[in-house]
Assembly symmetry: C2
Homo-oligomer: 193 residues x 2
Amino acid sequence: MLTTKKTIRRQFILDEAAKLFKEKGYGGTSMRDLAGNVGLEAASMYNYIKSKDEILELICSRIAGIYISQLHDIEQTAASYADKVKALIRLHIRLMVEEGPAVSVANHDWKYLPEPQLTAFKQARKDYEKGFAQLIEQGMAAGEFQPLNVSVALFTILSAVRWVELWYRPGRGLSAEELEEDIITMLLSGLAK
Amino acid sequence: MLTTKKTIRRQFILDEAAKLFKEKGYGGTSMRDLAGNVGLEAASMYNYIKSKDEILELICSRIAGIYISQLHDIEQTAASYADKVKALIRLHIRLMVEEGPAVSVANHDWKYLPEPQLTAFKQARKDYEKGFAQLIEQGMAAGEFQPLNVSVALFTILSAVRWVELWYRPGRGLSAEELEEDIITMLLSGLAK
């Protein structure tokens, strides 16, 4: 088991790695660049992390784990389907705002994962999409949602929130809460009055 | 002026080039690959097209031109703002369905355009977004749309339709019209009843 101090240092290295991957690309980032950014000798960084592959694996599995566990929590609640879908939309936006670089790595660089982590990651994403689709389907069956093609509704939502990753900066004159509310209004109530 | 036959042959070369760029990447496609795909000797292909740069430029400017001219046409109509926004959403989806590879090149490979075409392309995109945002703003002022942050509404729409590029195939059990109707319902009326 990792000691707390080691865990904190390790998470710091992962956060810096995510920023570098986002900025220079996964292929364009070396362990040497990373050691320079975290202020460690390359040799001592290996006390915390074994390889670039391990870093990618830890970032992707942490983000995938957050999505899956939040989905399970939301599924268990007694809320309406509309509130469940809203909670998932909020989760996507909040993660992009609070964990931008790590989410960006999980969205784009997952394809560089080695096996068997690549297959596990794709399966986790599939499970998440399936669970999300089920909530939409159940909401339709319960008469809460409009009768649409479930895949179209799901991918429209997942795609609609993606621009936040590229656009949102704290200085845009819009708080994360306003952003969430406006996107939720668009997707649940629509632009038209 | 190009003769009709030459124009047709040239458009065929551009269409094949867009498919190759989408499949192998702009950097990964050579003029030799392209000549092979269109069934011409590299030397005779140069009668129709000068360089890879010229191909990229022609694809990007054609797609940008369609968006801009359609926006202008829509702005001139007497339709409601909701109908104007619907017409633009339809345009995005239809272009992705009918011109998938060319739209994909304009969405992703524009960054390889040489100057001054790069600046012109970015300006055209900015003008288009500005015109689209104005329709949303005018619809809000007219009381047709909910009072939201205009940029959030605009980018949610532009982002929401992007998944079609990756997902839509004629064999998905969904016609292009059903796809359009469901996405328009999501964005204008919302998922919730």
